[in-house]
């Protein structure tokens, strides 16, 4: 054996719309590994692939619905969760996953998320957090850390940011985890657990956005931000989530892990008279 073999196809191509590759995401973007984890977790689940549905909203992460070769829906901005709720209630046999970004789920679609979590609708939510609105030119969003420089906060962001796992846990999500696009094995395991879990599951995945966010915040290329995740992430599942804010600086830690795993009645399973 000597060296690498050059080929034209990838084993995951069955689950991807390979004719659309290479995708539009920038070099150093962390969305690809997250999508690979999702594809692997779907392929390994006991549910047939034609029962999996992926719903996404608008933004770079919204493109996932276009690249995964399952029944996938690209909905209007902020509305993947109402769409997914409707899908799940109309066809309960489907395995519905919402795959969208922080701006789509927590800014424009914030209300939908809190009420779906309160009702405990049986959907999985994967929220890719890149700390800004990447596709539209790196504006500050609800997850932008305080002090961060973006195109709309050139002197530093003055707003405190959302702590997504804490918010989801407070709202009653039955499974809450946070990983980064470097923690691919843990993330794949988390997605598998979320697929098995009944109820509203929430996984936050931190992803480098070198062009929209990293460049203006001394985080360097995507590779440098991945290296920051490697050195600064602490796997601490028992963490007090109120301490799990992200500053995203070279001297601050990032708490990751499977934080919450509880049982609650699922929406539609009880409460009403037949």
């Amino acid at each position: 054996m000597s060296g690498e073999i050059v080929v034209n196809a990838h084993p995951l191509d069955d689950l991807l719309r390979a004719d659309r590759l290479p995708h539009i995401w920038c070099p150093g973007c962390g969305l690809g590994p997250i999508m690979a984890c999702m594809a692997n977790a779907m392929a390994d689940s006991a549910i047939p692939i034609d029962k999996h549905v992926v719903v996404s909203g608008i933004g770079c992460t919204g493109r996932v619905a276009g690249y995964l070769k399952v029944d996938s829906f690209h909905t209007t901005h902020g509305r993947p969760i109402p769409f997914a709720t409707g899908l799940k209630l109309a066809k309960p046999e489907l395995q519905v996953t919402v795959f969208s970004g922080d701006g789509d789920l927590f800014a424009i679609g914030g209300n939908h998320l809190i009420h779906a979590a309160r009702r405990n609708v049986d959907i999985n939510v994967i929220c890719v957090n890149n700390f800004n609105y990447g596709m539209t030119g790196g504006q500050a969003g609800p997850t932008t850390p305080m002090g961060a420089r973006t195109s709309t906060t050139p002197y530093g962001n003055v707003d405190p940011s959302f702590n997504l796992p804490r918010l989801a846990a407070t709202l009653g999500a039955v499974y809450v985890a946070r990983w980064t696009s470097l923690h691919v094995r843990q993330l794949e395991k988390s997605i598998r657990r979320a697929i098995k879990k009944e109820g509203f599951t929430f996984i936050e995945v931190l992803s480098p956005c070198p062009v929209g966010f990293g460049k203006s915040n001394n985080l360097g290329e995507g590779l440098d931000e991945m290296e920051l995740y490697r050195t600064n992430c602490v796997v601490y599942p028992e963490a007090d989530l109120s301490q799990a804010d992200i500053e995203l600086k070279h001297d601050s830690t990032i708490i990751v892990g499977d934080f919450v795993d509880i049982e609650r009645p699922v929406y539609g399973a009880g409460g009403g008279e037949e």
């Binding site: 054996m1 000597s2 060296g3 690498e4 073999i5 050059v6 080929v7 034209n8 196809a9 990838h10 084993p11 995951l12 191509d13 991807l16 390979a18 590759l21 290479p22 995708h23 995401w25 920038c26 070099p27 150093g28 973007c29 962390g30 969305l31 690809g32 590994p33 690979a36 984890c37 692997n40 696009s181 470097l182 691919v184 094995r185 794949e188 290329e221 995507g222 590779l223 991945m226 290296e227 490697r230």
Partner: protein, 85 residues
């Protein structure tokens, strides 16, 4: 020289992996090169059609891949994978 050895070290075989690359999809982010636990990969000397240096196996690491599949998972562009041989 190891002073302590696992009891099953005679029966457990370390897997050997073969690296497959799709140069046309690579965007040169270097995630696979940086995070390969065995440091098997290096940047190619040549470029693909878009001008990126894709990963190739280092000259002295032809047998070093242990098929952990981390490069397959961490590649954002579905441009590299390994298989056990």
């Amino acid at each position: 020289m190891l002073t302590r050895k696992p009891l099953d070290s005679a029966t457990v075989k370390i897997p050997v992996g073969q690296v497959y690359v799709i140069p046309g999809r690579c965007k040169g982010c270097k995630f696979c090169i940086q995070f390969c636990p065995e440091q098997v990969l290096v940047e190619s000397e040549g470029m693909n059609a878009k001008g990126y240096h894709y990963p190739v196996v280092a000259e002295d690491k032809a047998q070093a891949c242990v098929n952990c599949r981390f490069c397959k998972l961490v590649c954002p562009d579905f441009a590299i994978y390994t298989e056990e041989i």
